[in-house]
Symmetry: C2
């Protein structure tokens, strides 16, 4: 039996395993500040890679980055009624702008420095950005406005979980204004597709893109779309959303323009975002019982070289051999970018370092000992196939030059393999179901990991939808989305109402 690197397996306790990956891979840690985490270099490095890849795509689709204030005056939230309703509950509120000594060696908010109007730490920036749009947009010539910001936002969560749900998190939020609804809808779907492509091609996360049901819409939106990824425990993770806001926010914030005929019209707006939550998805899709496995495109280092040093004079020669290897690897190009190769010279034992990189999930780990060097070789471990059939570590001795020549293919292959594995899992865990009883039976067994169900529904609204939501809630289920590109008849009656169905939706448990 293989003795794995983590203290707990996915099978034994998925939640504890998730936390163990985060700790053992040095991704993040508790900060001592309620609900907020410290993102450590390896976790932040993954985020930086995601940022870079997404930012390039955001710019390539014509958007420009800006920066808007962290603080939103309370009154801004009072304007869009539905939006307030959706967000008003849990937000961090700044009420004072000064501290004073309390006379006992401590500090307190200065009663003299109470703000006239409290400021909310942005939970999202529709209101403050909409106010700017109202200034910027006067004529049809000013449209479209296509902007994005990378920022921190705060939602005061009662139960937090690293990456998945933290009080403060990092994200990008795109905001656009358009001359008509058609253009705005097109934008909403264009960015949904950018997210799908980012998730699948860069993060190796297969996702289902689709429209959220009415009850899961962003507060104030006309339509909300999402990409949904399946975790190894069968639960869904909403990994990105794109909202068509119609003229709702334009009405609240007075975003109006003169059209080509000189008439005043309200703009149609959109917003869309992905966050550090995506890293939670990467962990739960690609992690295994030895730690994280980072897809090469988002790995801060794709190849890590660990020299087997012995604190002897001969070390110098070995280090030179490794430096030359690192330099040659950096000259290679994999997946369209120069290979990112690290030489790990930290003062620790080679075996400790090797297992450290296994837990962190570096795609390729290269060990080099004096014997490797003498033979012009390197010992190579691929993180996506760590063990041989006999349960031993699968470390292959390769000619040094042959390895350099093959490294680009090897990196691309790790990327493809991680996606293929996850994709097969996703596909085999979505079951078309025609009757409610089957679903109830599946979830009666709490040990089962049934994945998602693909059902036909009549898209009920209002009170009828509330009933559906309640029925699902009893099994801790939610409607994830109605996948894009549905053509033809959904093929059955609505599983909830029995009425003629209009589309198919995915239901499942979720994070």
């Amino acid at each position: 039996m293989i003795k794995h690197a983590l203290p707990v397996t996915r099978e034994a306790d998925f939640a504890a395993w998730y936390q163990a990956v985060i700790t053992e891979a040095d991704l993040a840690e508790e900060s001592g500040v309620r609900g907020c985490m410290v993102i450590r270099p390896w976790g932040y490095g993954i985020w930086e890679r995601i940022q870079r890849l997404l930012d390039d795509r955001i710019k390539a689709t014509g958007h420009e980055n800006c920066y808007f204030p962290l603080f939103i005056p309370l009154s801004y939230f009072e304007k869009e009624a539905e939006h307030v309703e959706g967000f008003a509950k849990e937000m961090a509120v700044v009420t004072h702008h000064r501290l004073v000594a309390d006379g006992e060696g401590g500090l307190v908010p200065d009663p003299e420095a109470k703000l006239e109007e409290p400021l909310v730490i942005r939970p999202t920036s529709e209101t403050v950005i909409g106010t700017a749009f109202a200034r910027w947009v006067q004529s049809w010539r000013d449209l479209p406005v296509l902007i994005n910001q990378w920022a921190n936002v705060v939602r005061w969560e009662m139960r937090t979980r690293m990456f998945l749900r933290t009080a403060e998190f990092l994200w990008q939020e795109g905001h656009t204004a358009h001359a008509n609804a058609e253009e705005a809808r097109e934008e909403t779907l264009k960015m949904l597709e950018v997210y799908r492509e980012l998730a699948e091609d860069c993060l190796a996360l297969p996702v289902i893109a689709g429209e959220k049901p009415e009850n899961e819409r962003f507060p104030g939106a006309v339509a909300t779309y999402s990409i949904e990824a399946m975790m190894q425990d069968g639960k869904a993770l909403q990994a990105g959303t794109s909202h068509f806001l119609g003229t709702n926010f334009a009405h609240a914030q007075n975003i109006r323009f003169q059209n080509a005929n000189g008439e005043l019209e309200f703009a149609n707006t959109t917003s869309w975002g992905v966050s550090t939550r995506m890293i939670g998805g990467v962990i739960m899709v690609h992690g295994d019982d030895d730690g994280l496995r980072v897809p090469p495109r988002i790995a801060p280092w794709q190849v890590v070289i660990v020299p087997m040093l012995r604190d002897k004079p001969e070390d110098a020669e070995l280090i030179d051999y490794c430096k030359a290897l690192q330099a040659d690897l950096a000259k290679q190009s994999a997946l369209g970018e120069p290979v990112r190769a690290l030489l790990d010279l930290k003062p620790a034992k080679a075996a400790t370092k090797r297992w450290g990189w296994v837990k962190k999930g570096a795609p390729i780990i290269v060990e080099v000992g004096p014997r490797d060097m003498a033979g012009g070789n390197v010992s190579v471990v691929r993180r996506d196939r760590l063990y041989r059939e006999d349960g031993k570590l699968d470390s292959a001795i390769l000619g040094r030059d042959a390895f350099v020549g093959d490294v680009a293919d090897m990196i691309a292959d790790v990327q493809a393999q991680l996606f293929a594995d996850a994709d097969a899992r996703l596909k085999s865990n979505i079951a078309p179901v025609d009757d409610w009883a089957t679903i109830e039976a599946m979830f009666a067994d709490s040990a089962a990991k049934p994945g998602w169900f693909d059902v036909a529904w009549s898209r009920p609204t209002g009170a009828e939808l509330d009933k559906v939501v309640e029925r699902l809630k009893a099994l801790k289920l939610t409607i994830r989305n109605a996948p894009m590109g549905q053509t033809g008849h959904p093929g059955a009656a609505c599983i909830f109402t029995g009425a003629p169905a209009v589309e198919r939706v995915l239901i499942g448990r979720s994070y």
Copy 2:
């Protein structure tokens, strides 16, 4: 006489001119949130370039990026006494985590959701990062810790000025821990040099690097170093700081490690930062009466192509000509990176667009009309030399291919020219002075822009230093820094105390 593009000149009203550049170049605007600005795409694009160039250098010197919480519990500030004293006054304080309806259609902080311990929005992160260092550092093997974060910070300023002093601003803050004071001092100076090089080579801002006097030290620091740039009105702008913190923060936060002999020691720490304030410096050093001039290394677009369209079918051919030009320019490499060329197809008149880019300060503006196209030419304006001697716009008709071939040199030349002009100004406006009377006389005339004075001093401390500071304050002067690399005798008696001098310092007015 030249009719300039801005409504106000530097000569007439420098402060109003500064604001006009920000508005006319679309750099930033008031947000409606007290003391906070909206950074618009052109301003944010400059910041992104600065970030990229600095981030590369921060990583090349061995640092890794992380992310720490926005919120700092009040108690963290109470630990380092001097630090509290320096920062306690004006900070944004979060006291509640929920809003409720006030029953009159508005929202108020929920009295039921008052935080037990108020949270301060970070004004800087020494305290929260130091707390993490205390967890991370156990042994000498864990040192050095070399990290950085890109973040927003808040200091509640009473009088704000865009980029120079805003309640919220963007910056990077590096934080490091070392096994001994020598290494920490070395790190402090290494990053000071990185800042000098960034300012001079990338932002084309000549600066003086040096040590701040005791009274200008960061709260809790043993030594603070700065780079100081000279604005066109002769005032100084502190454009970056690097602090050697000794063991002060390590004591407050208990950052201790076991040394190689098994003894427990306190770590020595450093911190260093630059912010969006640098953009204020770029404006006041490189701006002219026609707007901003952006040094090519930090220009989001280095070459902007403005086609002279006439809303006629022939436009299509002209656009194709311009697209091919843009593609060929993008294949060139200038200052070590691919040329960033934009084709401006916005619906506006060519002359309006040209002047828009002049005000924004794009380094090279290329206009292409049907006649240019017919002759295989382009009309090129260099932003650093906008007018001919006769006062007309200096637009040169160049062969299209010759221009493409020369563009890299032209870009490098604009970068060099901006630096050379600023450097000559800096050097000619620093005057060595031996007696206080000369300084008083210079500042008696309020219209004069005397620049900085280079004086010898005895480096007084305590009450004696307070007196010097008061004397300077009466003339609105401060000691900027004691330039690095001073060797030999300072050459005169202390201008303040008459005592034997130990070094030379620069004094001047400042932002």
